[in-house]
């Protein structure tokens, strides 16, 4: 596999080639994405499927006379082949532009910004990791997935902008199953694999597993006090991020937070949510070529900034703020509350301790009403003591209720959740979230 330094050089070669090939008044933007990944799947504490994937691609946009088109090309890693693919791609776009009408929403960033962020912590040897996992999981029913390797992102434009982002990371996302079918989910992720750190994280999960052996409690539908752990809250935030903060979704009245941005409804003043790019794993520049800065999306329960991509900026008269085409957050940061972790069960009193939620969707999107399932380590708590695991239950409730009138407290401590998503490529998104104590969660099935 080529080294990150080589990848940066390869990208610069393509950029230089493109700059030389452009005929004025043509303009271009060129994005770059590459990764070398080790993927290992575990089932029953053994390796079920393992492999390595090496991939690299560019995203070329050609602009001329107010017209533009985009082409995504997989690279071969061979400089000669890649230059040929870029040349052919440029010609394809040149042939296309005259067929298009001018785009009234084209907005280019003409600044020559520079950004360079390289994090090259050495990654652990895959065989060593497999060995540590196998030893820790001896006698347990572990199922999970380990993904690791360098990820690179680049951006350049004909206006002189150049950004490079490279980071090594690993993410071991796993579950421990009790023989009764109940399970606890955990992850160990970051830049530096520490045998001690992994052992500690694994032990925490193993301790929770002990509670799952108690007889299962089945609850009737109804309304319950509940504590949503950070991973459960992340699922709810994930739904709100699905168009919630998008300038285009808000303008086209299809945001689930339409009533928040319209000033009709608000969350609890405890809720403040930022898109905090600084210090996160995601690149400091967007795929469109705009530097990204931190944004306050919800400020003390009220609507703050929207995420604005360049087309939305042009169409709705807004200022582009570094959002990608989908205008979804990728570095969520929710303000902590005042509830100490040690007080969670006591403050909950009697109700549900929910570690994870699963498969959420809208039952009424304009009302931000959500439905979804409990999954992994959900417990029934009485008088501040865990009593029993709870069988899988469906909830159906409004986000404006859960994070509004029914929100009692947020925890003092927050958890940094790194996305384990590997659709097409390894994700760089993250969320720093507290847990939430709510006085009423509606279970329906």
């Amino acid at each position: 596999m080529s080294s990150p330094t080589t990848q940066a050089e390869s990208f610069k070669t393509l950029v230089n080639h493109l700059r030389a090939a452009i005929r004025k008044p043509e303009q271009f933007t060129l994005g770059y994405a590459a990764e070398s990944s080790a993927f290992v799947r575990f089932n029953h504490a053994k390796v079920r499927q393992a492999g390595e994937v090496q991939q690299a691609s560019i995203s070329l946009k050609l602009i001329n006379d107010g017209r533009h088109a985009d082409l995504h090309i997989t690279l071969a890693g061979d400089p000669e082949v890649d230059l040929q693919r870029l040349t052919e791609g440029l010609q394809q776009l040149r042939d296309t532009l005259p067929l298009l009408p001018p785009d009234p929403y084209l907005l280019l960033n003409l600044t020559g910004w520079q950004s360079d962020n390289v994090q090259a912590h050495p990654l652990p040897d895959t065989e060593q990791v497999i060995g540590e996992i196998a030893r820790a999981a001896e006698g347990l029913d572990l199922v999970g997935f380990y993904a690791a390797g360098p990820v690179s992102r680049g951006f350049a434009s004909s206006s002189g902008a150049f950004g490079w982002h490279q980071a090594n990371s690993f993410n071991f996302d796993f579950s421990l199953f009790h023989e009764n079918g109940q399970a606890v989910k955990a992850s160990y992720a970051g830049h530096d694999w520490s045998s001690e750190g992994f052992a500690r994280r694994f032990e925490q999960a193993r301790e929770q597993l002990a509670f799952l052996g108690r007889p299962l409690r089945t609850l009737p539908p109804g309304q319950y006090r509940a504590y949503l752990a950070p991973a459960a809250l992340e699922e709810i935030m994930g739904m709100l991020c699905w168009g919630g903060f998008s300038a285009q979704a808000i303008a086209s009245k299809s945001s689930p937070l339409q009533k928040l941005y319209g000033g009709d409804l608000a969350f609890s003043p405890l809720v403040s949510l930022d898109e905090k790019v600084s210090g996160s794993l995601s690149p400091a520049f967007s795929e469109e070529g705009y530097p990204r800065s931190d944004l306050g999306l919800i400020v003390e329960g009220k609507a703050g900034a929207q995420l604005v991509g360049s087309r939305s900026a042009a169409e709705y008269g807004l200022t582009a703020n570094g959002a990608d085409g989908g205008e979804a957050p990728s570095a969520l940061n929710m303000l902590a509350g005042a509830l100490p972790d040690a007080e969670i069960l006591k403050q909950l009193g009697t109700g549900l301790y929910i570690s994870n939620l699963w498969y959420l969707n809208f039952s009424d999107q304009p009302a931000a009403r959500l439905t979804g399932m409990t999954r992994f380590a959900t417990f029934w708590v009485e008088h501040g003591e865990i009593q029993a695991p709870v069988s899988t239950m469906r909830f159906d409730d409004s986000a404006f209720s859960l994070l509004g009138s029914q929100l009692e407290a947020l925890t003092e401590e927050r958890e940094c959740l790194l996305s384990a998503s590997t659709y097409s490529q390894r994700a760089t998104a993250s969320a720093l979230l507290p847990g939430a104590l709510v006085s009423r969660l509606t279970l329906t099935l």
Partner: protein
């Protein structure tokens, strides 16, 4: 077509390894996505993707390496890395595949009308622009978008026992969405997307799917929904049209019958199943009207193919007959592990992801009642059409689904439109309430390109064909707005 095949064969023949078995799966994919949003053409998006996955088996342990470097050296390097990984995994491997048979088949497969060139970019934009312009002028219609995606895929599978399988496929995805808003509520009505999803074929699909001329009707329906009352809460007979049956089949028959889920592979991500291995041949999954097939033989359906990505020949099989569960959705590897018959559904989304058990085409066979009869026999019911919300537990049992369009049915007659139609039930009981199945006149071939599963994650094309179906006494309800 297949212009890389001779060079690939030559490079494959030159590969050297100590593995007892190895294979190469080369995928070349190109695509274009065109859209017109509120009468403004979006910039077209094109893509070209190409790479290969090398898989080896060493002492019964398999490993893979996927590479974008298709040179002779690049392929050899990937093969070497896969072999080295397989050797290192030996002490930790879950499976011993020394006795698993491999395919030596040689065959070609291609989509219908593939030899016909697709409409030009200008023709496509003209068509999309005309449809967009036909959305009526009404200030409540705040957003609309007409789009057309086209994807070409060529795949070549070669292995060390002589298999040579080529597939050339073209997928077409037309879509239209119109959103209406009245100051307090928003309703979207779609065409395409989940209620067509796409098919294999050529330009003929654009007219065959009904996109042309659909905008005024779809806009009118969006406006009707704005004015409609909420769906009333309570038990009703539920008539699901094929564009909701597609989702119903997918989530509460397809996923629970995937054999890798039953074997536990997906417990950390996509989930497990309420179905157990011992249920096959014994479990009454639904009423005796329920007949479910794995069917790769409907040429236009999204997941029709000759062989799966492990090289197994695909053929039509009944998974459920007269309501009785017979066979899982498991490819050759899962069949070997579980010791039961399955289907040829070991599939990968591209060159950089390994094959796992996927749904492919999973269909409900038609019954004997025309739509009028289905409606006429319902005393107190509701028709629901076009999925917009889906949620189901990790064992694929407790579900809640929502649709764009609802119409009440009283005393055998279709009545008024209702908005926010939702229903919830439990898979293990729901299919037993199947009380009527539409005939061939209600049968539609649909599908979706967006089924997510697996670690690493994969999103793949699946096809679902279904007649309209009636379920007795289901919990239905509306929204808050």
């Amino acid at each position: 077509m297949y212009d890389f095949h001779p060079r690939l064969k030559e490079r494959f023949a030159a590969l050297r390894t100590g593995a007892e078995f190895f294979s190469l799966r080369h995928v070349r994919e190109s695509g274009q996505y065109l859209a017109v949003r509120k009468n403004v053409a979006e910039p077209p998006r094109f893509s070209r993707d190409e790479g290969a996955m090398l898989t080896v088996r060493v002492n019964g342990v398999e490993a893979y390496a996927a590479t974008n470097d298709l040179s002779r050296q690049g392929l050899q390097t990937a093969l070497d890395r896969a072999e080295a990984l397989a050797r290192r995994l030996k002490p930790h491997a879950l499976l011993d595949l020394r006795d698993q048979p491999v395919s030596g088949d040689r065959a070609d497969y291609c989509s219908p009308n593939l030899e016909q060139p697709f409409a030009s970019l200008s023709e496509c934009f003209d068509l999309l622009g005309a449809e967009s312009a036909s959305v009526p002028k009404d200030e409540r219609l705040v957003h609309w978008e007409v789009s057309l995606g086209v994807t070409h895929v060529e795949q070549i599978y070669l292995n060390s026992v002589g298999a040579e399988l080529r597939q050339a496929l073209r997928f077409v995805y037309p879509s239209l969405d119109i959103t209406a808003h009245n100051g307090s509520d928003t309703q979207t009505r779609g065409f395409g997307r989940e209620n067509f999803g796409g098919q294999q074929g050529g330009t003929e699909l654009i007219s065959r799917c009904g996109l042309i001329g659909a905008a005024p009707r779809v806009a009118d329906q969006a406006l009707q929904l704005l004015l409609a009352p909420n769906t009333p809460e309570g038990k009703r007979d539920l008539l699901l049209m094929p564009d909701q049956m597609m989702l119903q089949i997918h989530e509460s028959i397809g996923h629970p019958l995937e054999l890798d889920r039953i074997l536990g592979d997906e417990r950390n991500y996509a989930g497990t199943s309420f179905v157990k291995a011992e249920d096959f041949g014994h479990l009454q999954y639904g009423s005796n009207l329920l007949n479910v097939t794995f069917d790769p033989d409907i040429p236009e359906q999204l997941a029709s193919y000759g062989h799966d990505d492990d090289g197994t020949a695909a053929s039509k099989q009944f998974l459920i007959r007269d309501g009785l569960l017979l066979r899982p959705l498991g490819g050759a590897l899962s069949q070997f592990r579980a010791g039961m018959d399955g289907v040829a559904n070991s599939r990968a989304c591209s060159w950089n992801r390994p094959p796992i058990d996927r749904m492919a085409n999973l269909n409900i066979e038609p019954g004997d009642q025309p739509l009028e009869q289905l409606i006429g026999n319902i005393e107190h019911g509701i028709l629901m059409s076009t999925n917009r919300s889906w949620s189901i537990d990790d064992a694929r049992n407790k579900f809640q689904f929502g649709c764009e369009w609802g119409q009440l049915i009283e005393n055998g007659q279709l009545k008024g439109v209702v908005k926010n139609p939702n229903y919830r039930a439990i898979s293990a009981q729901f299919w037993k309430s199947l009380s009527a199945v539409g005939d061939a006149s209600t049968f539609k071939v649909l599908g979706t390109p967006n089924c997510g599963k697996g670690e690493p994650n994969q999103v793949i094309r699946v096809g679902h064909a279904s007649p309209a179906c009636v379920f007795s006494n289901v919990d239905v309800f509306g929204g808050d707005a």
